[in-house]
């Protein structure tokens, strides 16, 4: 049985780096998509709202793993070669869009109607009211849930290992295949995830407490 070497540790760190890249990528792209989904969900037009609702329900009802397979293998059938990073990025973006869109819709709708009225009566258009008055307040409300969801996304990137993308989990698998020390290797992998997620969870919790205090 071989011993865990420094080279392998560096390999894990590289995987950790890719986990961060994939998380950031899916969160940034997913935020853009989620903003669009949220806008569609609070649209004045019933058709737009309905389409967004179907999208959200659809995506929330499909496991992320299956989404990954659809993008990676499914699109491959049309002769388009999707690199693992792109496949994982696209699948995660779609997934994150649906969830963030719904989280943000909730906070936008929780802003009292009279705030809209006050803005409207000052002559602000619907769009100006949304951007200048409602969203700044909604962002504050949605931050704890958004950061909480970021933790979920970070952990969900481990699923990208199944399409061959070498992030932290896949790096652990590869090392373990040569070392056969699953407990050591995966405990280390788990420890890395924990180190990333714990501060975020803590931050989310702290923000929630602060919000509750200021709303009292």
């Amino acid at each position: 049985m071989d011993h865990f070497t420094f080279v392998q540790f560096v390999y894990l760190l590289k995987g950790l780096g890719w986990t961060l890249v994939l998380s950031a990528l899916s969160f940034v792209l997913g935020s853009v998509g989620g903003f669009g989904v949220m806008l569609a969900r609070v649209s004045r037009f019933g058709v737009v709202r309905a389409i967004a609702a179907v999208f959200i329900q659809g995506i929330q009802g499909i496991p992320l793993l299956v989404l990954l397979f659809i993008v990676y293998f499914g699109v491959g059938i049309f002769g388009i070669d999707v690199p693992p990073l792109a496949a994982a990025g696209i699948a995660l973006m779609v997934y994150v869009s649906a969830f963030l869109g719904e989280i943000w819709r909730g906070s936008v709708e929780s802003i009292e109607k009279i705030q809209w009225e006050a803005a409207e009566c000052l002559g602000l258009s619907r769009w100006q009211s949304l951007i200048l008055v409602v969203i700044p307040q909604a962002v504050r409300l949605s931050l704890p849930a958004t950061v909480g969801f970021l933790v979920q996304v970070l952990k969900s990137t481990s699923l990208a290992s199944v399409v061959g993308f070498v992030e932290l989990t896949r790096a652990g698998q590869i090392i373990n295949n040569s070392l056969f020390q699953p407990f050591l290797v995966f405990a280390l992998v788990g420890g890395f995830y924990f180190l990333l997620c714990y501060p975020l969870s803590k931050w989310s919790r702290a923000m929630e407490r602060k919000l509750n205090v200021s709303r009292r």
Binding site: I114, Q115, E117, A118, A119, E120, C121, L122, G123, L124, S125, Q128, L132, V133, P136, Q137, R140, S214
Partner: protein, 242 residues
């Protein structure tokens, strides 16, 4: 005297509930009109119809030359001419007092930052809160918040100002400071419509009192109708109110 606000046989229902049953009155430029009546008499609804926060089912409303019956209304222009202040202040909690006032000046009136800030300071001076320019709404008392809301509306230089029970959420002391501001505006010649429960104030400041009862104008006239009401209903109402 030119008519600024005119309601002609206005009807409005919420579902089965008929709130306005043929309301008719005129308000001329410079007039201060107090609308009084029991809760549910339709007075707030009538006021909200004047700023098109509610649409009407039948009749006609004309406000500053805008026809608010059926059909399209230039809301942007209407909101330039009409200011409204609500019972619950409705300041924007994420903005300072100053920014609450400059927001619409900059984004609707397209004033420069400097011009908007100057006007914000001027209207805050009017309501006696210049030193609160950089405070957030939550740091102010209810009375102060309401005065800021009045200043915010005033900054848009409306032709008519509507006040929807603006002191109902305040204790007597804070009510006093808000009423003082309204009185000052009245002296300055602002056309105002007040939905209020402050009878003594209405009698002192208003040129015209409109008593609404069961969705209709039951009695209207000068402040003296509060002393010598013509109808039993108004008699009962002030009997309870004072």
């Amino acid at each position: 005297m030119s008519v600024v606000v005119s309601l002609q046989n206005v009807h409005k229902s919420f579902g089965q509930n008929q709130v306005l049953k043929g309301v008719t009155f005129d308000i001329t430029r410079g007039q201060v009109v107090a609308i009084i009546g029991q809760s549910g008499s339709g007075k707030s609804t009538a006021l909200r119809c004047m700023d098109r926060l509610e649409t009407i089912d039948d009749g006609a409303i004309q406000v500053c030359g805008h026809q608010l019956g059926g059909g399209k209304v230039d809301l942007e222009q209407l909101r330039k001419d009409v200011g409204i202040v609500f019972q619950s202040y409705n300041l924007f909690p994420h903005l300072t007092v100053g920014h609450n006032i400059t927001l619409a000046l900059r984004h609707v009136r397209k004033l420069s930052r400097k011009a908007a800030e100057e006007r914000a300071r001027a209207v805050l001076e009017t309501v006696g809160l210049l030193e609160k320019y950089d405070s957030y709404p939550e740091q102010l008392s209810g009375g102060q918040q309401q005065r800021v809301a009045i200043a915010r509306s005033l900054a848009m230089e409306p032709q008519v100002m509507l006040f929807d029970e603006v002191t109902s959420a305040l204790d007597p002391k804070l009510t006093g400071e808000v009423l003082k501001v309204i009185e000052k505006l009245a002296e300055g010649g602002m056309t105002m419509v007040l939905v209020t429960h402050e009878m003594a104030f209405a009698r002192r400041v208003a040129d015209k009192i409109i008593f609404m009862h069961e969705g209709q104008v039951w009695e209207a006239g000068g402040p003296d109708i509060l002393v010598n009401p013509a109808t039993q209903e108004l008699q009962d109402f002030i009997g309870n109110g004072l």
